[in-house]
């Protein structure tokens, strides 16, 4: 299934360990247990638990997201429906993605980003604590499946909830949503060629698994460390990706949100696009960076009050077409999984 056997047949001859003889472990199971018990596990500072109301809001937020996936067009069997509000995921496995709309006038984003940084309001999680950082995201575009001729693309949207402690452990629950297409030609092609089972939407059980431990470095708040973390030296395209990663992994406090906006203000190439509506139907303010060398545009949408990242999208510039998006639907501190 899925070419597993063929992959094994292909790669086994170059398996570096295929002839290796594994020496017995130097430590017995008993000794290893003693070692594990003797060496204290690194314990991250535990934040004091307080009740959070944020999670109570999750269902409502998701309902808004499901009901108002704006800026997408769905096409029924009889032709295009030009509605700006898509059907709920699952109702029509045929969403053709349309880029987020913004005005044509644009100037350098630096002064607007600094102004936004100077007036940030607190958000609910700024006054909460908990064992886990919780993120609820909807993503599309990783990976994209492309037809053999390279012309037709499809990817499944994923709805992911992650509870992650600072030692990396926690839980991840991902639900595969409907296939979405960057253009009508791709939709036509893949609806002919995608296996019905694969194309069937909203029928997949959640994939739920525990997260193994990892070093989750603390989120820095200083300018120099943020410049490093956000890969400022590689330019605005890399910075866009890293800002998206940071907001998808950490609960970012207000001071750090402001500092991130100031970092962005100093990176050449970002244009201020003003008020936009993201795919969850939320109002935000957007900046873009056109990477002409790679025929790509990065778009970041921020909450105009709190400065939180709402969404990150990547486009190809010619033709103008969505490559990937991430919408951050909810962020919170919590003590509980699920």
């Amino acid at each position: 299934m899925f070419g597993e056997q063929r992959t094994r047949a292909l790669l086994k001859p170059i398996d570096p360990a295929r002839h290796s003889t594994i020496a017995p472990p130097r430590l017995s199971a008993h000794d290893l247990i003693n070692r594990a018990e003797a060496i204290a596990e690194p314990v991250a500072p535990r934040r004091q638990a307080r009740p959070t109301r944020r999670l109570v809001l999750t269902a409502g937020t998701l309902a808004v997201a499901v009901g108002a996936v704006a800026i997408a067009q769905t096409f029924g069997p009889n032709g295009p429906d030009t509605s700006q509000i898509a059907s709920p995921p699952g109702a029509d496995p045929g969403v053709v993605l349309v880029p987020v709309a913004y005005g044509s006038g644009a100037g350098a984003a630096g002064s607007q980003l600094r102004a936004l940084a100077s007036r940030l309001a607190t958000t609910e999680y700024d006054n909460r604590t908990g064992r886990y950082m919780y993120h609820h995201t909807k993503t599309w575009g990783d990976p994209v499946m492309t037809s053999a001729d390279g012309r037709h693309h499809v990817a499944f949207a994923d709805d992911t909830k992650v509870w992650q402690a600072v030692d990396g452990t926690g839980q991840q629950v991902t639900v595969q949503l409907e296939p979405q297409y960057p253009d009508q030609e791709s939709r036509n092609y893949w609806q002919r060629n995608l296996k019905p089972k694969a194309a069937a939407s909203a029928t997949h059980a959640p994939d739920s698994f525990p997260l193994p431990p990892m070093d989750l470095a603390p989120l820095p708040s200083g300018r120099a460390q943020l410049n490093d973390l956000l890969k400022v030296r590689f330019g605005a395209g890399a910075v866009s990706n890293e800002v998206s990663m940071v907001y998808g992994r950490y609960v970012v406090p207000r001071q750090t949100r402001a500092e991130i906006l100031r970092v962005l203000a100093e990176v050449p190439g970002f244009l201020w696009r003003g008020e936009v509506t993201d795919r969850a139907g939320r109002k935000g303010v957007a900046i873009t960076f056109d990477d002409r060398d790679n025929n790509a545009q990065s778009l970041l949408i921020f909450d105009p009050n709190t400065g939180e990242l709402l969404a990150h999208e990547r486009l190809t510039l010619s033709p103008v077409r969505i490559s990937s998006y991430q919408v951050i639907l909810d962020t919170a501190w919590t003590d509980r999984l699920n």
Binding site: E4, D15, I39, P143, S208, F209, S324
Partner: protein
Amino acid sequence: MGPPGKRDEDWFTRVYAADYGQVQRYGQRRLADIEAAAELAQEVFVIAWRRRREVPDRSLPWLYGVARRLLANEWRARRGTPDVLPMTDANLLQKPGVSGADATVGVADLQAALFTLADLDQEILRLVGWEELTVSEAAQVLGCTRTTAAVRLHRARRRLNDAMSYRSGSPAQQPVLASPRKAM
């Protein structure tokens, strides 16, 4: 994944005996240093004991996930002075004797082509091809859905084939591969 059974020393001894070799091989396939692979395997099981309540009954994918994260941590920590090299950086193909029975043009090309792929493409191929995980199990290691893993495998196989074709047609040139859009 049901609730874990009794997680005492007997349980750990069984898991250790059953899976240690596989976890060490995981390290050998990704590191140039066998000693480092043994250390990695021991560290994985130290964590498995400490986290024994979280280890699923089918433990190998979880153990591989721990190993993958440990390697990532290690690699990040040692970027300045990398004495533990990932296999792709170890120039393995030029080491005398390493290719051994594989010293055929086809196998060498396959190795070289594999090493040109992006890390995520290589990893899904290794997990399925070498660790012999199912796509669902590989998805657990990579932290993605089964469908996403299946698409990644499909895409990686095609890129591997493209890289092979490119190499055999024009050995002086390196294949140009699309970079992954986003690593989760």
